[in-house]
Symmetry: C2
Subunit: 396 residues, 2 copies
């Protein structure tokens, strides 16, 4: 190879940013050109988005300027939207420009999976980016303001959250905390506000410890959340949602957290996908493409039982560590690492001072779990930005 | 009269609240029963509403709890909406109840006058109450959030203010100050935001000193406001406004400040009105009704040239002083006072640190005028709530 290899990283989510930071550390001078491409000039902390969505924290606390994280002397950054991946040309088409690569890291994140439910795409909002959560927050506040001008339209005060997985549960917890504040601000009787959490699966937080799920639902019910578990949304309309039970909930506000799929660009690029996600090899590469790594929500890694691990921040970060190692190893002709997911535990917040979780093999709940959640958040800030970032953004 | 006379005051705006406070001070023990009726349990400072409407101040800084202003041992307060006035029965029908009176004070305020322009009622918002300005603020923020999700819809960032009278000018001044903040918060290019102020009259601030009007327009143009003066709005539609020139401005946001009329209940009660306002006698009574005082935006007082004084806070407060005096005098059989308006000057704010005004015969502008505006606001707080209220709310 007469010139140094070019690595292009698509997406600065958990997977992309951690890969970039690890490469920055591990690569020697002039060993490779690394370019990070992202739609925005900031990285956002997806696991924190339920708070600005409900309005219990500022959106700025859930994002970090990318140029404050990477070293511009070691990594190039291009702010642009990826339009197309061309594996055979080893090129990526951007909205403004084209990049060639020798190695590609695809960390483009997921898209909401609507499972073909009519109207969800058109009428539901999603917790997926800074822009989308600002929209949810403003939309909710606007409903309170509109209700005061037309007090007969109580449907303005009904909020439906589709999906009681992690994001759905964490969001209703925040929303239930936010409602009393909004009622005070807009002089609204709290009795008029309804929060529904609708889940098609037979339980909230599917796959989670049943005792903790029960605890979580009790906490949220006491905060005013009404659960509809085992009930599918049949259709979403401008007037509300139709449930499989025949019931209609009239509302102006539906937030869909019911699932994610991979990025549509992967199918369009000719990769074999399952719900838009690529089942990667043991080294995290797309099958048949030794130079393309796929990490985060675009990838599928199977657990020992042969089922895909759920897409989380934790697995993305672990993938990024291995991905960076394997990129460096490839360039140096060293041996690649095999990816093995190691669950360090999971904590779901339930609003102010309340959470549930599994840490190691221990169940935690209440204030202790909420503290644990905070530590996990701080640990991530430390991983990407060291102590200065922990101090700057760590208040949450 | 075997029982003590009953005075009912409708509305706790400038006129109503000051009348109540003056009666509270001037009436002796058991000289009269006074009941104040208001839709909300708070009084709001209408001349301050342009700030919370634009989002440059909190709505709570523009209102005061009525029970913190009046002495409940001397004045009854009923929170209810007036439905009908029955002068011949000496009764007032409320949404919840009926009140009999011997003396009535009508201080119900005005309503937006749309001059029959189609669509204004349906699609434009008004700066007229705490609820309405919260709606405007939330609506504007929502437009920024929506734009970020659909960046092709630049009409979301176009704001049209109809009317360049006092309220219109003060509101565009605040809005122009607010836009840079919103652009920062939502990551929006300020170049994309347009503020139009459309006025049918041949000048902004009709009746005001031309030199000051020119100064005001210069200040606002520099802040990014585009004026369309001498241009009528022909129609307001869900897509925007059509101007008399044939031009269309595409927008989701129209705030109409083009005029006010009296309360429709007065016509319905059989009073003779001009645009819903009653031309009162020299003692501020409705013609033919010695026991009904009409003050504030529901009343008309002619100036020496035979034209109505414009409805302002200043004239309402002066009317309230005379109204209270005349009520006490009627009860005691003393002589009634004749109302004569004494202009103490007028100051219009143009946003942060900028204003124009006439004080006495002196023109003021810039920082000095802005300070004057602040003093006028503080003086009013002092009138209704004394020093404690000045300290509590006086920060603005």
């Amino acid at each position: 190879m007469s010139r140094i290899p070019r690595i292009v990283i698509l997406g600065a989510g958990y997977g992309g940013i951690v890969t970039a930071l690890r490469l920055q550390k591990q690569l020697n001078y002039n060993e490779a050109d690394v370019t990070l491409v992202n739609k925005h000039d900031y990285h956002y902390i997806t696991t924190h988005l339920h708070m600005p969505a409900a309005g219990t924290d500022k959106p700025d606390n859930a994002r970090v300027n990318i140029l404050k994280l990477i070293d511009e002397f070691k990594i190039d950054f291009v702010k642009s939207t990826v339009v197309q991946i061309r594996p055979h040309d080893k090129k990526v088409i951007l909205e403004e420009g084209v990049l060639s690569y020798d190695y590609l890291v695809v960390g483009l994140g997921g898209e909401p999976e609507t499972f073909g439910i009519p109207g969800l795409k058109e009428y539901a909002m999603n917790i997926r980016s800074i822009n989308s959560v600002r929209l949810i927050r403003e939309h909710i506040e606007y409903q309170f303001a509109k209700f005061k001008r037309e007090p007969s339209r109580t449907e303005a005060l009904t909020f439906v959250v589709g999906g009681a997985g992690f994001t759905g549960i964490e969001f209703v917890g925040e929303l239930a905390d936010r409602v009393p504040e909004l009622c005070r601000e807009f002089d609204v009787d709290p009795e008029l506000v309804k929060i529904y959490n609708v889940e098609a699966a037979p339980t909230a937080l599917p796959g989670f410890d049943p005792e903790l799920v029960e605890y979580a639902m009790d906490v949220l019910k006491k905060k005013g959340v009404t659960f509809k578990i085992g009930v599918a949304i049949k259709e979403c309309t401008p007037e509300g949602v139709l449930l499989a039970t025949g019931e209609e909930i009239r509302t102006n506000t539906v937030v869909w957290t019911g699932g994610i799929r991979g990025n549509r660009m992967l199918e369009e690029a000719g990769f074999e996908t399952m719900r838009g996600r690529i089942k990667v090899d043991e080294h995290l590469r797309a099958p048949g493409h030794d130079n393309i790594y796929v990490i985060g929500d675009c990838s599928i890694v199977m657990n020992p039982e042969g089922r895909p691990y759920p897409p989380t921040a934790q697995i993305s970060i672990q993938q990024a560590e291995v991905c960076a190692h394997n990129l460096v190893a490839s360039i140096r002709g060293d041996q690649l690492k095999t990816f093995e997911y190691q669950s360090k535990g999971t904590v779901a917040s339930l609003g102010r001072g309340e959470a549930i979780g599994i840490v190691g093999t221990k169940k935690v709940k209440g204030g202790a779990a909420a503290l644990m959640k905070k530590l996990i958040d701080l640990r991530y800030l430390y991983i990407i930005g060291g102590l200065p970032l922990v101090i700057r953004k760590g208040k949450f």
